[in-house]
């Protein structure tokens, strides 16, 4: 039986696991964006928070994913369901690119534009919403793109703690020494990552401010 036949035969399960995968990535990225973008904007405004916030996000990034899943397992409520745990871990990993790119994007806005805005009597809030965030949007989006691509890959490991997703097929294939099974998980995961990368890259190019 060749790979294509195998994929066709198991398409229902592959589709089911792909949706689970998308759910893990989608929810965690959404939470990370809701937390990370304001954090990035905050440290751009108050540089005193810059170091602690970026350091914390950096440290999280250095923890091996398998170990992080393990650390979080005994935490009450969280450990009750593998899915919750996986979402939290993925959120933590997605934070760094989002915080850092929001910060970099806002700091990269032409200082003359910000000064002119301030001098015309824009409040700090108006300055953020009408000037800094729109002009930083392509950089923020590229952070989102990195976060999603990382998450798609990392989410395969969530299967190790039973959170589902395409990693299930990979781990099963590893246990059974079945390459077709491994590929049935790996190929859709790679396609998801490429698709997200391409789609967001296209959007990013469209949002890039004209010089």
């Amino acid at each position: 039986m060749n790979l294509l036949q195998f994929l066709a035969q198991n398409r229902a399960e592959i589709l089911q696991l792909t949706l689970e995968h998308l759910w893990l990535v989608g929810v965690s990225t959404l939470i990370a964006a809701v937390v990370g973008i304001p954090l990035g904007a905050m440290i751009a405004r108050w540089p005193a928070f810059n170091k602690p916030v970026l350091t914390a996000a950096n440290i999280v990034q250095t923890i091996p994913s398998l170990a992080l899943f393990g650390f979080l397992l005994p935490v009450p409520w969280l450990g009750d369901r593998a899915e919750r745990l996986a979402i939290l871990a993925l959120t933590l990993y997605a934070l760094l690119p989002l915080i850092r790119n929001t910060y970099t994007g806002i700091r990269g806005v032409d200082p003359a534009v910000v000064e002119a805005g301030r001098a015309m009597g824009l409040t700090e809030g108006q300055l953020l919403w009408q000037v800094q965030l729109p002009l930083a949007s392509s950089v923020i989006l590229s952070g989102l793109r990195i976060a999603i691509v990382i998450s798609v890959g990392l989410a395969t490991i969530a299967a190790a703690i039973g959170a589902g997703g395409l990693g299930e097929l990979i781990f099963r294939g590893l246990a059974m020494v079945n390459n077709q099974l491994i590929l049935a998980g790996a190929i859709p995961a790679a396609l998801l990552a490429l698709l997200a990368d391409f789609g967001l890259g296209w959007l990013e190019a469209r949002l890039r401010p004209v010089q």
């Binding site: 002119a116 015309m120 729109p134 004209v210």
Partner: protein
């Protein structure tokens, strides 16, 4: 009340000092009055405190000591008062600082829109301003990057004038333009100022520009006010720094003339 209003100067610096966040003294003991309707030029080399003086007026910087009075009132301290103060003061800088993601029309209409003018009134005002600064009304839909440097600076002036402020702060607005465009804009500034009679505080390091545009010239050096003179008096001043400026200004002309004579 009205009679009294005529007496107070538009901007007054009373014993104003400013220190940079790093503790460096940028401006020390500045006393200066800007009369209503005059163009006061702040002249000096880089680091003399010209731009700092300008930014103290619209509170982009806060004085360490002393007080800056705008229209007789001590400058605002609360955030909402500062915002109101700034909306009543036009600000033009060398880098222009147009919002790159806004059309020319939206850039010019920014302050009126914040002040909740009616859309029709904003449109009308935008057309009027573009005409005033010598630009085609067709440009409203364009973006800043589609304009030339001279056109952008004209838009910058139009934007500063949009809500009809009594005071205009200009920080080397024509400094980045080529000599011919600069000459053109200086000429238009003069004719504009003859009609509008704004109170203008104008920063430059170019004596030619100072002589041409200023009703008075305030010479700054190393954070201190050296002297305030009318353009004609400046040329004949015995002050050593003023004389040095005049000499440097004349050097090019003399050299060219001598060259031609040989």
């Amino acid at each position: 009340m009205e009679a009294k209003k005529k007496d107070i100067s538009a901007i007054e610096f009373r014993d104003v000092s400013y220190e940079s966040p790093t503790g460096q003294k940028v401006l020390a003991g500045l006393n200066l009055e800007v009369q209503r309707g005059e163009t006061l030029v702040l002249l000096g080399r880089s680091g003399s405190g010209k731009t700092t003086t300008l930014k103290l007026v619209n509170r982009l910087l806060m004085p360490a000591r002393g007080e800056v009075y705008v229209e007789g009132k001590p400058a605002a301290k609360k955030q909402e008062d500062i915002v109101r103060l700034r909306r009543g003061i036009g600000y033009v800088i060398q880098e222009v600082g147009l919002f790159p993601h806004y059309t020319i029309g939206r850039n010019i209409g920014l302050v009126p829109r914040m002040e909740r003018w009616a859309e029709e009134k904003i449109r009308q005002r935008t057309r009027e301003l573009l005409q005033l600064v010598g630009l085609d009304a067709q440009l409203t839909g364009r973006y800043p990057h589609q304009l030339s440097g001279g056109q952008r600076q004209r838009v910058g002036v139009a934007r500063a004038l949009a809500a009809n402020p009594a005071i205009l702060l200009m920080d080397e607005p024509f400094g980045a333009l080529d000599p011919l465009t600069r000459d053109e804009l200086q000429r238009e500034f003069i004719s504009l100022q003859q009609r509008l009679r704004k109170t203008v505080l104008f920063v430059t390091h170019d004596l030619n520009e100072a002589l041409r545009l200023g009703s008075r010239i305030a010479l700054l050096d190393a954070g201190k006010l050296v002297t305030v003179l009318a353009p004609h008096d400046f040329l004949h001043s015995t002050n050593s720094l003023a004389a040095a400026y005049v000499k440097a200004f004349g050097a090019g002309l003399t050299a060219a003339e001598n060259g031609a004579a040989q």
